[in-house]
Structures are given as structure tokens and as C-alpha cells.
Symmetry: C2
Subunit: 200 residues, 2 copies
Amino acid sequence: MPRVSVREKLLAAGLETLRTQGFNGCGVQDITDAAGVPKGSFYNHFDSKEALGAAVVDQYMRASSADLALLRDTSLTPLRRLRAYFAAQVESLVAGRFECGCLLANFAAELADHSPLIRERVAASFTEWSLRLEEVLLEAQEAGEVAKDVSPGMLATFMLGAWEGAVLRSRVEKGRAPLDAFLRLAFDRSLEQGIPACTV
Amino acid sequence: MPRVSVREKLLAAGLETLRTQGFNGCGVQDITDAAGVPKGSFYNHFDSKEALGAAVVDQYMRASSADLALLRDTSLTPLRRLRAYFAAQVESLVAGRFECGCLLANFAAELADHSPLIRERVAASFTEWSLRLEEVLLEAQEAGEVAKDVSPGMLATFMLGAWEGAVLRSRVEKGRAPLDAFLRLAFDRSLEQGIPACTV
């Protein structure tokens, strides 16, 4: 087994702790305890909890990149590929009992007005995620699966917002209805009726 | 001037402080300082910061009820009325420089897994809000402005999610593009083209 560096331990424990407890709901000590490293070692690697938080956003995006691979599965049409991607996320949220939600949304809600450093990392991550969706939406427009009178970038922004809002609502409801409404309105209705989607 | 009770001062200061600082970003002392009352008086009115947080959710909904009155302005068609309601919210967020966002979303992100008391108040508030939208969406279906093959309840759930996600994204972008994408995809496209909306 390769040796896991203290920095990597702190990133992994930071992702888990910040995601489950919230940024202001935990301290550096909680993170070093979870990482199993002395508290003093934290500051050898990060200047502050905020600096770790910013690095954790990047770590979260790296961890999510395996899911994004579904968007390149060309055995499905573009719109069905997008649906498969989000449907997999829904099942993952159901399996996790709607806990934790999306780190980007959580940090956006908690820190957008308090940490320019983290806000910028979250904004960049949303932009990157939106661009991945936009690529597939452009393909879907070319394939006639999505209406062509709206730019794929605006469609992607709307879709990502609808997704994040549905995730947030499912967390307070502790139920999948908002996620199912998203899948139905964004994809199933147009796929079933064979009409170009304008829900996305 | 009627005398403002300590409880009312705490509710008003609590709404402002919890909304701007986040639940875990402030303490009882911050709230009593903002209210201009002694810290000791807090516990005469609320058992805990959590109990105040739950009461603040109701206070927030009461404060939002004036905005909801726009949904009863029958000088506009139902879909245009919904658009006017959300467009007014957009202008308010722009004027406020995209700060604070929506208290329900903020509490959902920060507390859904940590406070059953607040989670339930937030869930009930989302349900109430969604019902107000659903009533207008049903009218819009009857008026032929919204496609009829999806239940108005599901449409309202989707619309509210898309709105909350757009608000969250605008906070990290510090820009209105996600809110404009919401207005365009949820309303303008179908209003301009005279086609029943299925974006909502």
C-alpha cells in the first residue's frame, strides 16, 4: 500500500467532516481527530480551516469526476445520457438517506458572503460542472432531443439550478419526490412523448 | 408607537443575524447584542438558539407573505403573475447584491441533518410556498398557459427547486445570470412563443 501523506489524510477527513458537520459546525480539532493526526500538524499543510475548505472543494470535484464519466457514455443518446447521470445521483442520495447533500450547495449557502476564497472555488466548480452538462445539451440539440431556441449554456445553468434545488428540498423532506419531479420534468416527459425537451 | 416586546426584538434580530451569519456562524450573544437586550433575557423567551431558529423560520414566512400577494393579482394571466412574482424577487436579490439568499435554503443546507426541529419547520414552509405556486399553476393549466400532462403539484415542486438552485448559484457568482436563466426557461420562452410552458 502506498503511504498516505498527512496532507491527503487531512483532505479526506476534511471533505467528510466539512460535508457532514458544515463549515462552522466543526473545528480544526474535529478534522485532525477524524484524520488521526496531531492538531499541530494541520498548520504545516494549511494556513487555516478556510484554506483547507477551498482545497476540499477541489477534492470534491475530483471525487465526482467518476460520475461525470457517465456523460461520455455514447451508447445512449445525449438526453438519455444526461438522465442516466442524474438518475445515478438520485439513487446515491436515496441510498445515503438524503444526508449531506452537495458540498458545493452547502458551502454556497453557508459561506458565499463570508469567504471570498471558498466562494470563488465553488463558483469555478459550478462553472466546470455546468460546462460538462452544456456539452451534452449541445449534442442533444444537434440530435433534435432538445429545443434549439435557447443557448445550451443557459439550458445547463437552468438544469444545474433545478438539480441543486431539488437536492436541497429532498434533504428537508427526507424523501425523493423533489428528485423524481426533476427527472420527470427535465427528461421523462419529453423522452416519452418524443418531443424536444424545453424543460432543461 | 406600540411597545416592541423583547420576544419581538429577539425574533427580528434573530432573523437578521441568522440570515446574514448562518446558524453556526453566530451565538446567542450576537443575537441579544443585535436586539439590544441583555443576554440573560434570551432564555425567558426561547429554550435555545435552535428554538429561536425554528421561530425565525415562521417569522421569515410571515415577512414573505406580502410578496406572495403578487400571486393574487388577477390583472395578469396566471403565468404572467408567476413571472411577475419571481421577477420582483430577482430585482430584490440584485438590489441586495446577492447577499443572504433564502433563509429556507440556508437552513436546509446547514441544518437538515442536525436539527429535526428546524428541518421540520423548513419542510413545512417549503410545502406552504409550493402550494401557493401550485394554485396559480393549476389556473395557468386551465387557461392553456401551461401543459396539462403534469400535475400542478409536481410542476410547483420543480419550479421552486429551480428557483432555489438559481438563487444559490447567483450568490456564488455574485451575478444575475442564473436568475435570468430561470425567468427565461420557466416563463419567457413560452410566453413569447405562445406555447404552453412545460419548463415549469
